[in-house]
């Protein structure tokens, strides 16, 4: 409000022209067939026609690929930027109900950073769809397709034109300013509480995280500490191009292939001197030239100091060669037999004892995205994501059933919430917004075909930077379609899960970062079938809606004809290294605590801080948060101390997947019942008065859903006709001023109750909020997953906590949610990270470093 008042005091001098309403009309639709002539801007309207506004069908684009050949995934991945036709949900501020009534999609031409596959001349590889409007439509980064055992040899080129964006060129390195991106009017960082480096910044710097890969996290592997700056420019043209680095990178890739050929566990390069001389010389020269920019901290001295210490330097300009192996586990049993003495040491440390690969790369659906701390949210929202398909025996088995190239013809469905600058950088700050509507392969609700009875494989990747997609809720597969989930997070199911009814026609949650593979069969009858998802960052979001909104993801058009097919029951052979982790394997435990403060609650000098997000009480500062000895197995309790707004932070760890052994979600709902009778409510009152009601069947903690009011929680029950909520109603009841009566309602029956009288229902558990923390754990019925057939994940939402309040204890007691994981920290020593995959949280500090320490010292003891 102060901002508005200040704005009024000055802007009232300036507001002189108010255009007629007719000037606000939308721009005419662009022709669909060919690039249209540039339209004349229409003063007063910022919108342009969206794809499909003219009635044409929006088809699902096939994403171009960079595919491995002869055991090498070679190609050029260009990071650049373009002005694209971006879809926005309007009006802003209704984001708490994405897709709800009154919202619509409008489009605007906005600059975004993009990944693109290009040839050595910098031209897009074949396969990109033709542009159909004045502005190109978004397209995810190229799908990377390789096979276990292959070498990855990618030339990464950053040609972002920094002039297309506000000054965000790693401002943190500059000597002046806050180090963060800035929005005027003291909006950002303003009073958000964000400070460098845990703030939005550096959005023109690039790197790649190969999400889901089990590989070397160092040097030219899955190294997210790299910072590759945009190419310098001469006369507006980038000087670093795929062609300019090709000679040096060709030599480097050849040597890298030779070095990594020695053993599946070989790692290389180790040191700056391992890079080609021409590249090193050029990098040093460009960094030093960059360092002549006024008012910046110099970069080359940072690299030089790291090089001197023998560390891998982190700053580069224009291009970087990624080279690493996707390890293939070839043993037929687990654990693997120890290699014979004298075999390759498997690591950089001379004198290290022989060791064997403990886990291979699981073949499946993985993905990649930008991972520069401070700009992952904006870069991923811009579309800097893509799928990685790693093929293996999994594919061979499915292709044996369905025919050659069945898995190569699978639908790759890259979900994203496309957008531009984060809400926190805007005046409205959007604390209740759930992000943009979901797009699939850059399109809103695209269409693709299946013929009646056809079986397709769908590889679904939720690359969204914020929201979980509750896929096909409620009820699972939409009428007509049949499916079975066969993999999670790029790891195939074993034969039991492959044929489990639990994973047949199921609704499933894809948190930001999750993947799922489905085998899907079309119905016998032709026609369109809508596949939808609900948008949430916590399951309680959906309880808060009057009716959860099913957002369109895509539409399957059942048409045509083809050979008869069936959903197979033959599961691909399960790699031995994916055997469940036994309790006896666990050698260490840890507790890792994610926490969010509510907005305005942080005791700082800031008047109005935004929610703060931490791991183990601190924001990311580069220090190592967790240390594990390599080839050890640990069990971690991942705790969520977020009590409001409720957020199920998606926990993600790089390099090694994990299995879940226990989940405690104190906000769990057992079921939803229709309430008897009707209720009356009044604005600013917490009292609910019933007519024909039986409130004594409820107890504190039960939820009431009253249309137009969202989810309410019972504080106390007086009698069958009176109860009190935990908070007064603050929204005037619709249509009747300050009171409303005769309202129907539903009851959320919680799984956990916090009073012992009345006795818990069947399926409910009593948690003693005040006296016995040992009760703060799952009900016995849900405390343990199956003793076998566990699923592997690399991202999992941590259940949010609950604040239990009751009469006489208004402040309440906080009970955190948690899950427990087991992981094998095997094969690769080094530094990598764990973080929240709500990427604005990661950028703002919810990340820490994991150090996997090598098994041996670098010294000989002969």
């Amino acid at each position: 409000m102060n901002r508005i008042v200040r704005c009024f005091l000055a802007l009232s001098l300036l507001v002189a022209v108010v255009l007629p309403a007719s000037a606000q009309r939308r721009r005419a639709a662009a022709p669909a067939a060919a690039p249209a002539p540039a339209p004349t801007p229409t003063p007063g309207s910022q919108w342009i026609a969206c794809l499909g506004d003219d009635g044409t069908t929006v088809t699902l684009p096939v994403i171009p690929e960079i595919a491995a050949k002869d055991g090498k995934l070679r190609g050029n991945l260009l990071l650049s930027d373009a002005q694209e036709r971006i879809a926005f949900r309007v009006p802003f501020g209704l984001g708490v109900i994405p897709g709800g009534s009154g919202t619509s999609i409008k489009c605007a031409p906005n600059y975004v950073r993009t990944f693109q596959a290009v040839d050595d001349k910098g031209k897009p590889v074949p396969g990109y769809p033709p542009q159909t409007g004045t502005y190109p439509d978004p397209m995810p980064g190229p799908t990377l397709r390789a096979r276990v055992g292959d070498l990855v040899q990618l030339t990464f080129v950053n040609q972002i034109n920094t002039q297309d964006f506000g000054d965000s060129i790693d401002r943190g390195e500059k000597n002046t300013g806050t180090g963060c991106d800035e929005t005027g009017n003291n909006i950002y960082p303003g009073t958000t509480g964000d400070t460098y480096p845990d703030c939005f910044h550096g959005s023109s710097t690039g790197n790649i995280h190969f999400h889901g890969t089990h590989t070397n996290p160092n040097s030219t592997g899955d190294n997210v500490f790299l910072e590759i700056r945009p190419s310098l420019r001469t006369n507006g043209k980038p000087v670093v191009t795929p062609a300019s680095v090709k000679p040096a990178f060709d030599r480097f890739f050849a040597e890298c292939a030779q070095k990594l050929q020695v053993s599946v566990l070989s790692e290389w390069p180790y040191a700056w001197s391992d890079l080609p001389l021409a590249y090193r010389t050029a990098q040093e020269a460009m960094l030093k030239k960059y360092d002549t920019t006024p008012n910046i901290k110099k970069l080359w001295p940072v690299d030089a100091a790291q090089i001197k210490k023998g560390d891998w330097p982190q700053y580069y300009i224009g291009a970087y060669p990624y080279c690493y192996r996707i390890p293939d586990y070839v043993q037929s049993t687990f654990p693997p037999p120890a290699p014979a003495a004298g075999h390759h040491t498997g690591g950089p440390l001379s004198g290290a004892p022989p060791r064997a690969l403990q886990m291979g790369q699981s073949p499946g659906t993985h993905w990649y995205h930008a991972h520069k701390h401070g700009s992952t949210a904006i870069n991923v929202a811009n579309g800097m994501t893509g799928a990685i398909i790693i093929e293996g025996g999994y594919d061979d088995a499915l292709n044996a059933v369905y025919g050659t190239n069945f898995t190569r013809n699978a639908k790759v469905l890259v979900i994203n919430q496309l957008g531009v600058s984060p809400n926190l950088e805007r005046g409205i700050q959007g604390v209740n917004d759930k992000g943009a509507n979901f797009s699939v392969n850059g399109r809103i609700n695209p269409v693709f075909n299946m013929y009646p009875g056809e079986v397709q494989m769908w590889r679904i990747v939720n690359t969204s930077g914020r929201a979980s997609a509750l896929f096909a809720a409620p009820g699972g597969a939409p009428a007509g379609l049949s499916w079975k989930q066969i993999a999670q997070d790029g790891v195939q199911f074993n034969s039991v899960n492959f044929n489990s009814q639990h994973f047949a026609n199921n609704s499933f949650l894809l948190a930001a970062g999750n993947r799922a593979d489905l085998l899907v069969q079309a119905p016998a009858n032709p026609g369109p079938i809508a596949v939808t998802a609900q948008n949430e960052v916590d399951p309680t979001d959906l309880l808060a809606y009057p009716t959860p909104v099913n957002l369109p993801l895509f539409t399957v058009n059942v048409t045509g004809s083809g050979p008869a097919m069936t959903l197979t029951t033959t599961a691909p052979a399960f790699p031995p290294f994916l055997i469940d982790i036994k309790p006896s394997e666990v050698t260490g435990t840890k507790v890792v605590t994610f926490a969010s403060t509510p907005p305005n609650a942080t005791p700082t000098t800031n008047a109005n801080p935004a929610a703060q997000h931490t791991i183990n009480g601190t924001k990311f500062n580069g220090e190592v948060g967790e240390v594990v000895l390599m080839n050890n197995v640990e069990e971690w309790k991942i705790v969520n101390q977020s009590y409001g707004p409720l957020i199920s932070h998606p926990f993600h760890i790089h390099i090694n997947p994990f299995q879940i052994t226990e989940i405690f979600s104190p906000n769990d709902t057992l079921r939803t019942d229709n309430g008897s009778g009707t209720v009356a409510i009044a604005n600013n009152s917490a009292v609910v008065t019933g007519s024909g009601t039986t409130f004594t069947n409820l107890s504190p903690g039960y939820g009431l859903n009253i249309p137009g009011q969202g989810a309410l929680t019972v504080l106390s029950v007086t009698d069958d006709f009176h109860l009190t909520l935990t908070a007064p109603l603050t929204v005037p009841p619709p249509g009747s001023g300050t009171t409303a009566s005769g309202l129907t309602y539903t009851i959320n029956v919680p799984r956990y109750v916090f009073v012992n009288s009345p006795a818990p229902l069947a399926g409910q558990c009593y948690l003693n909020p005040a006296a016995d923390q040992s009760t703060w754990k799952p009900c016995a019925a849900v405390s343990q997953p199956p003793a076998q057939n566990n699923i592997w994940w690399d991202t999992f939402p941590i259940p949010s906590g609950i604040t239990v309040t009751w009469s006489g204890n208004a402040n309440g007691i906080n009970i955190p949610g948690y899950f427990k994981l087991r992981s094998r920290f095997v094969d690769y020593a080094g530094y990598y990270v764990i973080h929240c995959h709500i990427l604005a949280h990661e950028d703002r500090g919810m990340m820490t470093v994991v150090e996997v320490a090598p098994l041996t010292s670098p010294y000989s003891h002969d």
Partner: protein
């Protein structure tokens, strides 16, 4: 909510503000929504600074536009650079007896270093 760019392009020995929209010409307004962000890209060899002005193109006095003001558009932009901070297109407050701000409004600005270089942003409340 969108982000917008306005180019500062060489023009007739000076410079001109051109919204980065296909077909836009020097002097065209940029249409933007409430809380959209706007930045300027300096494509000239001189330093420029977008600065708020009255509807008759008189620059607002410095003391009315501190860096924390909602009217502040950008720091000086070096040749070849882009602007900082981003400008948040804020809806003016209601003028009593109206209870809501204007549905549409215009922000006039000039270059502080070259007052003849002029531009406008038309804000929309939705």
């Amino acid at each position: 909510m969108p982000d917008w760019k306005i180019n500062i392009n060489p023009a007739g020995g000076g410079a001109a503000f051109v919204p980065a929209i296909h077909g836009a010409k020097a002097g065209d307004p940029l249409a933007a929504g409430q809380d959209d962000l706007v930045t300027w890209a300096n494509n000239t060899k001189q330093k420029h600074q977008p600065w708020p002005a009255t509807s008759s193109w008189a620059p607002l006095p410095d003391d009315q536009v501190p860096r924390t003001s909602p009217l502040y558009l950008s720091d000086p932009i070096a040749a070849g650079g882009s602007s900082r901070p981003s400008y948040d297109v804020a809806q003016p407050a209601a003028v009593p007896p109206a209870t809501t701000g204007p549905a549409q409004w215009t922000v006039y600005y000039i270059c502080k270093n070259h007052p003849n270089e002029r531009g406008t942003i038309i804000g929309n409340a939705n």
